[in-house]
Amino acid sequence: MTSRRDFLRSAGGIAAGIVLESVTTATATAQSSIAPGAISPPILTRRAQASIAAMNEAIRKVVGTARVNRGKVTLELPALVDNGNGVSLAVRVDSPMTQADYVKAIHVFSEKNPLPEVVSFHLGPRAGRASVATRIRLADTQTVTAICEMSDGSFWSGSADAVVTLPACIEES
């Protein structure tokens, strides 16, 4: 005599078989309905992304063989970014900004955007204060690094982390 459990098990098996079969049929139909060359090439699912190595290479391009010291540079980013398309970024450098000692340039780099370069600011002693601000795009949760070039040729760096919940460059237009 068939128990309730056996009955359910066999019924389940049959049902699964039916589902499998219908899926196979559906796939076959879908494939046959696509005429060759009728659709454009598939959209790449892998997003272009710089790596930490690419960022270091970009930093090397700016810095050359000079040593990069940590400190003097304060990078301000919101800790939690709701929308990666417009992230406030402020960089301040601890410098007297006199004719003898000033900030020549500030370069900002990203480790996970499609390109490692973000922006380069060129300042001089007439800036009065080494403080700049802009709005940037962030493609992912990452650390943003700022490298500052002083008038004496030394380089200083500072970084900030941002958690990005809605990354830039994902939406289609």
């Binding site: 973000v118 007439r126 802009t134």
Partner: protein, 106 residues
């Protein structure tokens, strides 16, 4: 229609540090986005910003696709003499916009 804005104090004391804020209306198309048909949208960005104070360059910036649409830049300068502060944005596809403001230094 290209539009740009700059904001700075109309008057300042000599030697005072003033903040200049510059904003340009531009989509800053990154060149990494695709249409719904999978074709790549070509890059169209502002690549360079230069600010001059009575003809002398005081600040410049190289912009990359990682800068948000309608690029905003804020920076400082010492109020040296009365005159004109002019900003120029240049970019892809021949984009070029100039905007200037006058400042009176007492």
């Amino acid at each position: 229609m290209a539009r740009a804005l700059i904001n700075l104090p109309a008057t300042a004391r000599r030697g005072e540090i003033i903040e200049i804020k510059a904003l340009a209306a531009h989509a800053m198309e990154t060149g990494f986005r695709r249409t719904q048909y999978g074709t790549l949208i070509p890059r169209d960005i502002i690549t360079r910003f230069v600010c001059t104070y009575n003809g002398v360059e005081i600040f410049s910036a190289d912009l990359h696709p990682a800068i948000s649409a309608n690029p905003y830049l804020a920076f400082t300068t010492l109020a040296a003499e009365s005159g004109t502060i002019a900003c120029k944005w240049t970019g892809d596809n021949g984009y070029s916009v100039t905007e200037s403001a006058t400042i009176t230094v007492a």
